[in-house]
Amino acid sequence: MSSTAKSNVVNVLEFLDGDEYRLPTFALLDQEGVLYPGIDAPSLERDKALHIYRAMVFTRVLDERMMAAQRQGRLSFYLQCTGEEAAVIGATAALDDSDMIMAQYREQGALAYRGFSIDEFMNQLFGNDLDYGRGRQMPIHYGSAELHYMTISSPLATQIPQATGYAYGQKLAGEGHCTITFFGEGAASEGDFHAALNMATVHRVPVIFFCRNNGYAISTPAIEQYAADGVAPRAFGYRMHVVRVDGNDVLAVHEATREARRLAVEHHHPVLIEAMTYRLAAHSSSDDPSGYRSRKEEEAWRVKDPIRRMKRWLIDRSWWSEDEENELLERYRRDVLESMKRAEKRPPPPLESLVSDVYDEVPLRLQEQFDALEAHIRRYPEQYPRGARSLGIDNTDEPQGRT
């Protein structure tokens, strides 16, 4: 009945607290990017390794340029993946490209890996008429149906039980796909996390719970987020398969996620992966970490930069060179800047995007509200430059950038 059957009886009272069971951290590359001694070369072919690396470099460049653009006032908001590229992209590369990704918000690298174009990034960031999300969400809330990347939603952790449900659907569909959901160690404190992991093992759902433990939730250090040794030991509470990896070691992340996918898809074992990493940048463009952590701590992590480590490994194998690196950086920087200029110039989404997609069709009363709004904007076009522009009224001189 209840699972006591398996629990043997003891007559001595002893309290455990889990310290008995320390979860180790799986790593293949040392801090310098050299394979630990005695390790076989991991099964990552050259093309794939370079695909991963390029996505990591691209993500870094994108983040640098867009944060700069935000500082210049060209963009209202931005949020970097910096320091966590190996975790996000290493995991993504271990999946089938049509597995579903349900991310938190710091996983632009996953999209970069799957081929989201620079223009697609920019259109979302600038919320212009080509943004799939029709300019409704803040920058970095990307989504792509084609690339199986669920549109980001700001409320934290809501995607975690959704991932369990999505994966349940995949299991029923029987096409051998799984879902991965990314989240921070902060989000893992939400009730939705508990619901999701418990339901996943009960219903044996092909889902990978990928926790980016980057040490902070905005200003809150992990030590004030939980008292345990990370997030990984929670798996024991659900009898879920779990592994902890060095999140700045792309080879380890890739290997662990590949095996996790196999467990999920072939055996319907959901898996929790905790990737230990560090948020090298501020939480977002609205944040200033100097108020809550030391430069020294940041520096200690900067030397563990996942891109540097992978680069060393690639160069050691003669798969990569400084020349190629410089050329790539230059190209990405140029491409990002050009794309940004294009995106900024595009018109805002049409006025009707205010009322579409609330339902499958615009309800009658909402249509009435829209008609009244349209009439209103026609009366005051100078007050609503974007709306006026959408209505083809051209007496405005709004700057192109965001307000």
Binding site: M100, M102, D131, Y132, G133, R134, R136, Q137, H141, G143, S144, A145, M150, T151, S153, P155, T158, Q159, I160, P161, Q162, A163, T164, G165, Y166, A167, Y168, G169, Q170, L172, A173, T179, G191, D192, H194, A195, A196, N198, M199, V202, H203, S353, S356, D357, V358, Y359, D360, P363, L364, R365, L366
Partner: protein, 325 residues
């Protein structure tokens, strides 16, 4: 035509939905083997297997979160919340997620297939936590549809329509009527339209409007006042979001008077929205203030439940007061 009570009609609708579309999946607390604490999902697990009808762990936020994901995947989930009073742990998943899924993604993704069923309402000696009518907590949420049936026939047709509607639907079932309401229900697969109020009875002096279990109170009250010579037009709103303003306004243009009733507390209840909208639309036609007959602005009581309820006598007096204003 067979006679069914409301539970049977709901069970029949679920059965039909599952039979006609294999993507339909029913789950919730005690929904599996047991068929739900009210037995709305009886025999569905037997018929369609454990993969399509199952118990969930006891976690409403998980149930709705799971349902959102499953719907996004393309399935047609029908999740049961055991009592509407226990829907609040899922509030974030419903209001921030379900309702905004399509809009925020520019329809790259949606949860079109989703239906959430929950028994609501008082009159069963349930006290604070087995009696609430939380519909107004959701009517402020664009993106959701909200449907409440008043009898077995309506329940089947509206539930089938809700399941198949291309939008997420909250389907509140008046549990007081689960066994108390019986009526003829066609064997056939039929749908009743969402978004349309229904005029149950035409009349000239006053419009009386409600939904769900309150329709039985209205019926009784109308019988009383008609005996006193008042001609009532009776409307069942049926869909609360988006609601059918035109049908109600047309009626008030004719009668000049409106009495609205719901069980939930007065303040912030959905009658307020209706009154606000109708006073605006029908301003020059109104012959008396729009009246609301609702629960007290308190939690739901137990021993004095009868006193609390917006019943036929309270409605009777409100209708008379409206006429005699």
């Amino acid at each position: 035509m067979p006679t069914m009570n409301m539970l049977q009609a709901i069970n029949n609708a679920l059965d039909m939905a599952m039979a006609s579309d294999e993507r339909v999946i029913c789950f919730g607390e005690d929904v599996g083997t047991f068929g739900g604490v009210f037995r709305a999902t009886s025999h569905l697990q037997e018929r369609y297997g454990k993969a399509r009808c199952f118990n969930t762990p006891l976690v409403e936020q998980g149930i709705v979160g799971f349902a959102n994901g499953l719907a996004a995947q393309g399935a047609v989930p029908i999740a049961e919340i055991q009592f509407a009073d226990y829907i609040f742990p899922a509030f974030d998943q419903l209001v921030n997620e379900t309702a905004k899924f399509r809009y925020r993604s520019g329809n790259l993704f949606n949860v079109a297939g989703l239906t959430i069923r929950a028994p609501y309402g008082g009159g069963i000696s349930g006290g604070l936590y087995h009696s609430q009518s939380p519909e107004a907590y959701f009517t402020h949420t664009p993106g959701l549809k909200i449907v409440v049936p008043r009898n077995p026939y309506q329940a089947k047709g509206l539930l089938l329509a809700s399941i198949r509607d291309a939008n997420p639907v909250l389907f509140f079932e008046p549990k007081r009527l689960y066994r108390a309401a019986t009526g003829e229900v066609p064997d056939a697969d039929y749908q009743l339209p969402l978004g349309n109020a229904e005029i149950l009875k035409e009349g000239n002096d006053v419009t009386v409007l409600g939904w769900g279990a309150q329709m039985t109170m209205i019926e009784a009250a109308v019988e009383m006042v008609e005996n006193e010579g008042v001609s009532c037009e009776v409307i069942d709103l049926r869909t609360l979001l988006p609601w059918d303003v035109d049908t109600v306004a047309e009626s008030v243009f004719k009668t000049g008077r409106l009495v609205i009733t719901h069980e939930a507390p007065l303040t912030g209840g959905f009658a307020g929205e209706i009154a606000a909208t109708i006073q605006e639309r029908c301003f020059l036609y109104l012959e008396s203030p729009i009246a609301r007959v609702a629960g007290l602005d308190t939690p739901f009581p137990l021993t004095l439940e009868k006193e609390y309820m917006p019943d036929q006598w309270k409605l009777h007096d409100a209708i008379k007061a409206s006429i005699e204003f």
